[in-house]
């Protein structure tokens, strides 16, 4: 029995290693409702018809803060074409007072939601890899997932967003 279970473990690892390439693309994005930093309720489903980038971040996450100016630029420049960034802070309650000052000092204009009890990030991104971006098309389906950020990654992200905006889907 032990040999069987160990072999099964090996098989799971092997399966995980070989299963690359099959993205979550095309799946409907799970809906959620959260309060923004001013207390207003915002749900994902109310943005249907727009291309949406759901961005998970935290105040302590360095790469997240580097990515934010680029997300804000895309949000402002592509808004007229039907694009919107929904940014979700995954900071727990104890850091909630730091979220709005960080947004203010960057002058960011995108929507910022608080996921203080980690209920939404637990569904979309259980490993809480940050930053974590989910690009959603106008029909509410997941187009692509982006994990992590390094300077320059915003080029590919913008390319994907513009392609999605231009495709009419």
């Amino acid at each position: 029995m032990t040999l069987f279970t160990k072999s099964l473990s090996s098989l799971i690892l092997l399966g995980a290693l070989l299963s690359g390439g099959a993205a979550v693309a095309g799946e409907p994005a799970p809906d959620f409702s959260l309060r923004d930093i001013n207390g207003k309720e915002v749900s994902l489903s109310s943005h249907k018809g727009k291309v949406v980038l759901v961005n998970f971040w935290a105040t302590w996450c360095g790469p997240c803060k580097l990515e934010m100016p680029h997300l804000d630029k895309m949000d402002r420049e592509l808004e007229a074409k039907g694009f919107e960034v929904i940014s979700i802070s995954t900071d727990d309650a104890r850091a909630a007072s730091k979220v709005k000052p960080l947004i203010k000092r960057g002058g960011y204009g995108f929507t910022v939601l608080l996921d203080k009890d980690t209920s939404v990030v637990s569904q979309y991104n259980p490993a809480k890899t940050l930053p974590y971006n989910v690009l959603i098309d106008r029909e509410g389906n997941i187009h692509k997932v982006f994990q992590g950020y390094n300077p320059g990654d915003e080029v590919e992200l913008r390319h994907e967003i513009e392609a999605l905006l231009g495709s009419g889907s």
Partner: protein, 574 residues
Amino acid sequence: MRSLLAVLALGLSGPAHALELWGTGPLANASVQLTVDSELRYHNTALDDPGKRISGGPFELIPSMAVHDYFEQVGRFNLLIAKDDLNIGLQFDEVALFSNRYVLDGREQVTTPLYESTVQSPFDDSYFLLEKMFVSKKWDTVELTVGDTYASFGRGLALNIVKNTDIDVDTSIRGAKGIFRTGNFDLTAISGITNQQQISQENPNVAIAPNVDHMVSGARAEWFGPVNLGAHAVAYKFARPTELPLAVSASRYSSDLDVGIVGANIEANGVLGLDVYGEYALYDYRAADMADGEDRLRGWATYGSVAAYPGKAVVLLEAKASKDTERLTTFTTLEGWEPASIPTLEYERVITEDGSAAVNSNDIMGTRLRVDYAIVPGMFTPYVATTLLIDKDTEGLHFNDSEETILHPMAGLEWQRGHWAAQFNAGMRTDKRKDTAEGSDRMMHVDGTFHLPLFGEEALEIDIDAKKFEWGVNEQQQEDFLEMANALVWHRGEKWVFVLYQDWTDNPLVQSEGNLQFIGENVYGALEAQFKPSGNITYKAFYGAYKAGIRCSGGQCRSLPGFEGARVSVNGVF
């Protein structure tokens, strides 16, 4: 086992085939997302023994490996099925050890026991667990979750049970949670038994303990208007170490409560250009073993913050005070998590040895002021900050046996231009004791990340982190020490990353040894290659060692073990 096979099938076949599993039933055309984290580790213990190794299965590939070396394979599979307003989630964890047994003098020995004798598993060196599961359904004004869920009220003074993967802590509440939301009003109710993550994803799994069932119930009402108002109540009943590990969860509901907490908060945004928040919580301990032997003991906590935005500056002032609040963690500290705590007001990245003084205390008050000045908003922002804490708690795990005044000024900046970027923080913390004969503890720290574009898509990243400790006189008297954790990262295009890690510590309390003894006995080094063929999957291969140490995140601190050996891992979203 059926769920295991289903997950295995999904992992091997991908979502296109997974959809067919649901046929034309109620879950037809449901969205299926599978997140995979799987890792194989080779633990180099540097310990040998005259015994003879027992064959350890398919991963035993190194004939000359030492008897105490072993392999560990750990996997986590999160499956989310979503259709319309219905979400179903499953988290399946598994771990197996290989080559952790040998024969000495004719008797079988175990070098690394996977779990304690009180854990029920049909397998000797492998453990499978449906760690989390939930079903949530959303209607117009009601959202109901049954199974594993999380909850946080206010700023976490009364209840803050959330996923904290930063330090490999994931305790959920297994029960039911309901949210009634209409216009400006939210009502949340939750009740259940805590479900602590048993299989660690980031850290070695040794002597896994059974889950300990603590009961948590609470309710919170919030009204959002020109001023946001909230009120909540939480009740706890904790399991005791003397109880049977598999005690019936339901008994927590039938026995007297250990702690009741009531709290309220007020928040005003944009009033006179200020964002103001205030919260107060009252703790009522009703168990003698949490109330210093008394029948009843009261504790309290308060936290407040004010943010102002004059011109290009952002000013954040936070303050807190609390008395007898850490008693709440009496029975969960050893399990490595806390059901609630007050914001630390500290720069948690530098808390290591004396973390308890600022993070957890039964008698503490303090304030933190941070001023950012956005010279170019989002691109260049320096800041200064100062924390001042007075810690009167001299019991428990604290290093101080007299009142301490903690002063921690620091400064830093965030800067980026094109693909160049720098994030830098530095400061000095002084823990000054009231009894001057005991002197002061001092810690100087610096950390930073620097991105340097090279040519084409090539880029370098330099990460530095250093802390120098100088200790005063106390019962845990120890030598001054220096700790460093640095990395040199080469980004080769979008797909490849190569990392050279270098740690250093001469902290006498650290339970690990450097692997680069030829350079110095306190030097650790490691290499890692990362391959990201697409945005949704990352492969990593690591060889070398890193040091042990305490790490804090979100007000919780955990002592993390060091590691020496090799690991290959995959993380993907499918």
